[in-house]
């Protein structure tokens, strides 16, 4: 029982950064922009979040700063792709490389410094219920935020006028432009939002998952988040499920070792990456479903024809 609780709780911890980053990227992609720089924005958020939290002693400030760092990096991407009309794939890669390098530079003085972990919810009586208690009622604020944000995004996209407009921009930017909607502005805002979420996701890694900073600590999670968006066929509800599934894969190897499974640890560590490939293949096979769900203008450059 205790073991099960530990596994489920660590699954949640592992899933939360993925969920945050993927939810942000989903909004970005729904508006028609493919931002491959999620890894760069996450690690940017991780390092800034840690630095600020360490210096000010306040994790809340750390998270805020991390979100802003994500926004700043995303703004760089947005300017290049939306105003300089640069290729989205190349720019996203550039953002990742730049983010990794810059974060290593900024994070140097903070290596090895410890931080206290985040306070967790405790409702006397409720949190003590075996398994379910700590799982649902014993998490830290950001976990609840990540789920709430995903739900809110789902509601925003399908029920609000602004969400409808965003979807239309991702579906057919020429038509949206002809109807008078500010395509670039909408996309830029969506990109910034994605940056903020990725920054938060990264900060969760350095402030909660392992309250430490180390170079390259995102270890490819940004890329997994990108795969998650495809896995979810751009639907927020599915994203929730997918993030937790991947969270599970990520921690499976740790617990398997503990359980005395004799597979070498390196192979277990491969699980999340292999799972990502598998999931991608399964989803991509169904070209028709992709066509009906993927924002049709995804990755295409929008040129305002005067």
């Amino acid at each position: 029982m205790h073991e099960l609780t530990a596994i489920l709780v660590s699954m949640v911890l592992s899933a939360t950064p993925l969920l945050l980053a993927a939810a942000g990227e989903l909004v970005t992609e729904k508006s028609g922009v493919l931002n491959l720089g999620v890894e760069g924005m996450m690690i940017g958020g991780a390092v800034i979040g840690f630095a600020v939290a360490w210096t000010t002693g306040s994790p809340a400030l750390g998270f805020t700063a991390a979100a802003l760092a994500g926004v700043a990096l995303a703004a760089l991407f947005g300017v290049l792709t939306l105003f300089f009309l640069a290729n989205q794939v190349a720019t996203g890669l550039a953002l990742t490389i730049f983010g990794l390098g810059l974060s290593a530079l900024i994070g140097k003085p903070y290596i090895g410094k410890p931080l206290p972990s985040l306070p967790q919810l405790y409702i006397p009586g409720v949190t003590d219920i075996p398994v379910i208690g700590p799982l649902i009622f014993g998490q830290d604020a950001i976990v609840y935020l990540s789920v709430a944000a995903t739900v809110a995004i789902g509601w925003f996209l399908s029920r609000t006028r602004a969400g409808l407009i965003l979807r239309s921009v991702g579906e057919n930017h020429d038509a949206a432009h002809a109807l008078g909607y500010p395509v670039r502005r909408i996309r830029f805002l969506a990109v910034l939002f994605g940056g903020a979420m990725s920054g938060l996701g990264g900060a969760y890694l350095s402030l909660a998952y392992t309250p430490l900073w180390s170079e390259g600590m995102t270890a490819g999670r940004g890329w997994i988040a990108l795969a998650l968006v495809v896995f979810a066929t751009w639907k927020p509800w599915r994203l929730l499920f997918g993030a937790y599934l991947f969270g599970f894969f990520s921690i499976a190897q740790l617990h398997a070792q503990g359980a005395g499974v004799s597979i070498p640890p390196e192979f277990l560590s491969m699980l999340p990456y292999l799972a990502t490939i598998l999931v991608l293949v399964i989803i991509s096979r169904d070209a028709k479903r992709i066509r009906l769900n993927a924002p049709a203008a995804l990755g295409k450059v929008f040129r305002a024809t005067a």
């Binding site: 057919n172 002809a178 109807l179 009906l292």
Partner: protein, 519 residues
Amino acid sequence: MSLAGDTGGETARLRLRGITKRYPGTVANKSIDLTVMPGELHALLGENGAGKSTLVKIIYGVVTADEGEILWEGTPIAAHDPASARKLGIGMVFQHFTLFETLTVTENIALGLDDQRDMRALRRKIDETARRYGMALDPDRHVHDLAVGERQRVEIVRCLMQEPKLLIMDEPTSVLAPQEVERLFETLRRLAAEGCSILYISHKLGEIMALCQRATVLRQGKVTAQCDPRQETSASLARMMVGSDVLAVKRPEEHQGGGEALTVTDLAMEPDDPFGTRLDHVFLTVRVGEILGIAGVAGNGQTELLRALAGEKLAPGRDAIRIDGKSVGHLGPTGRRARGVAFVPEERLGRGAVAELTLAENALLTAYLDGNVGAGMVKQGTVRKFATAIVKDYNVVCAGIDAEARSLSGGNMQKFIIGREILQRPRILIAAHPTWGVDVGAALTIHEALIRLRDAGAAVLVVSEDLDELFEICDRIAVMSKGRLSEPKRVGDTDIDEIGLLMGGLFAEAPAEVSHAAD
């Protein structure tokens, strides 16, 4: 309705004065004056490229003029964008639909309106409005499920919901069958009777003569004439549009056609695109020395048929498509090209040619079996000679064969592509919409080239939405509707009305037992 500028009494609903718009390398609109009265059906007439689309985009606020002023009901309009245009009461139905395929009709209409509306109330209003004007529309369907004519209705209803005082329609009938056109005209006449002005853009003279009370003619960005189309003839209108008597292609005696060059037997194919059309038991024969035309409104399976013929999508059975009697259904484009088929696609830049490559490089695109490649290497000299020949023989206006393809005008690019295909001496040429969006001079060159090719003994298949073009150059015509192909008729034995009926889908079921021997 007076013909002169001011009506002395009634204020014009819309007045344009001296509108000028420049783009790099061209002036789209030169000092244009236009007056539309309330309740008037006003045509904006001109060839492709005359500046009509730009002008209405300026009226609607998508584009801002460089000079000139716009007066709405006597008052000048200052800063202007589509949202404020809609508020004034200007509605626009675009030529290229501004619809979002994966969204529902209601959502699409909501996007075209400006205020927050309760979706449920909106659905009811859509239903009411559509019914009032005699157009059936289901608010909950997704646009990708709708046929082209239905999609246009979505665009129109969207405008009508705002109770417009001026409705601009940009080439609305390019996607409609003749009977649907008549229905549209009834709706427009009803609107005009209620006081709404209609600005109707088209290059189709017959329609304008049937519908409109006044016409402003644009040529090369300038207003060249104003008239009452009901009192003009096609010839006089055409002269106003083009500036000289339109030269008709000399129609030589109809050709009988020899042996079967290209044969399609019982072809059935699912579309790749979930929004595409299924091909349903298509039978087709193109004979040596004839031009067979396929008429039909876009979206009835032409694209799928063309892909199947080109080999971009392989047929389910190798015998479904035969060239000179030999099965080729299993061959891709290269294999078919090797057997003498050449193909002119619908899209020029983006399929027929690569915009960023030079003309010399584009010449190789389909000519790589014609001695231009040896041992895996490109023979640069030979390719360049070929490109030069195309440019010369087809009068392609360009800055040399090293000019990038995108620097050419539409007509010249089309001439280059047709020239490239024909100069490879194909036995069979398939041309999709060969003169779409092309100026009159280039269209003439292309039509003459097709006829020359036919006379030299090739089999030519032309797919087009332009019935005038088909009746001009074809020997036989068939109609594509909802994925099925009608029995071809000799051009002399039929007329536009009959073809129009066929385009509406009214032909015999499953022509499987119908013999397709020579007519």
